[in-house]
């Protein structure tokens, strides 16, 4: 219960503080979380099996999403929307990266992650980590994930957050895309972010 209360308190402060950042005049479709969500910070292993940290994505607008590749519906639909938003942005998309953080490192080896993200866009980078690294990240961004019970074939679903966190080129959290935004709305928000760095 205490955890739930903490979570609710965090959500409430998120709602109250949203829009109080430096660019409070700018209207975004996504939720403005400037100054509310922790800055971009992580240590993971990327889809080429190399270490990946926040500083490697410096100067890029980073869209961070927690998912897993054995998710056939919501994760691909989310990656597809971001892929279409990147296409809408044309050359400006080069200033963006999407970080697909797999919370299922057991099945999502780097090669699996690479094939998965490459099916969408070269601007989407897959990464995963040890359970400690992932737990630290989940705590930092207040997201929950849990592996489901395996069936007779050993297949299991993963309960995961549906939000996309957007960080600016300095690694500051700016927007929270909650899942209902369309590709054109995401593209328009990212253009605004580029104009209001």
């Amino acid at each position: 219960m205490k955890t739930v209360a903490h979570y609710l308190a965090a959500m409430l402060s998120l709602l109250l503080l949203a829009g109080c950042g430096s660019d409070s005049q700018v209207r975004y479709t996504a939720r403005n979380v400037t100054g509310v969500v922790a800055p971009l910070q992580f240590t993971l292993t990327d889809e080429d099996a190399r270490p990946l940290a926040a500083r490697d994505l410096r100067d890029k607008i980073v869209l961070m999403y927690f998912g897993y590749t054995h998710c056939p519906d919501v994760c691909p639909a989310t990656l597809a929307r971001v892929t279409h938003a990147f296409k809408d942005l044309g050359a400006d998309a080069g200033r963006m990266r999407m970080l697909f953080v797999s919370v299922d490192p057991k099945r999502d080896r780097p090669s699996v992650l690479k094939a998965y993200t490459d099916a969408f866009s070269p601007l989407i980078v897959g990464a995963t980590g040890t359970s400690t690294q992932l737990t630290d990240m989940a705590r930092r961004y207040r997201v929950a994930y849990r592996l489901g019970k395996p069936d007779a074939n050993g297949d299991y679903a993963v309960y995961h957050s549906s939000a996309i966190f957007v960080f600016d080129g300095r690694g500051q959290a700016r927007l929270l895309i909650t899942g209902t935004e369309t590709a054109p709305e995401i593209a328009a928000d990212l253009e605004k972010l580029l104009a209001n760095p």
Partner: protein, 149 residues
Amino acid sequence: MRLPTLVFAIMAAALSLTVANAAMPQQSEQASISHAWIRWLPGKLPMAGYFTITNSGSSKVVLTGAASRDFGKVMMHESVNKGGAETMRHVARLPVPAGEHRSFAPGGYHLMLMQRRHAIKVGDTLGITLQFADGSSKKIEFIVKGAAG
């Protein structure tokens, strides 16, 4: 005299029931399927199949499952978002009332296509048989689209 009358009545009732059954269309005939597609994913990852089912008949149809020669296992699933977290639940029966339609679309109902039995590429068409509560079934050709749809 009473017994033959009763027998006749039973026979007549049985006959009318048979006629009624024959007139009652199979659920697979009442249901029409459109926009059937699969989102391609690489390797052996499970994929999702989507379509719209429209019941143009005068009675309810109930979708109970699906099967395909191209996959070891096909399940009806629904993605559910609870307080910002995504999860999936198995759907055993999906009723479609007369005159209504149900969409299998990203973020909601979908067929989860597991254990592909051969390599599949974008542009392929794969047959998936939809099964109904009355035991009837209908084979639908699904087109495989790219990951980004």
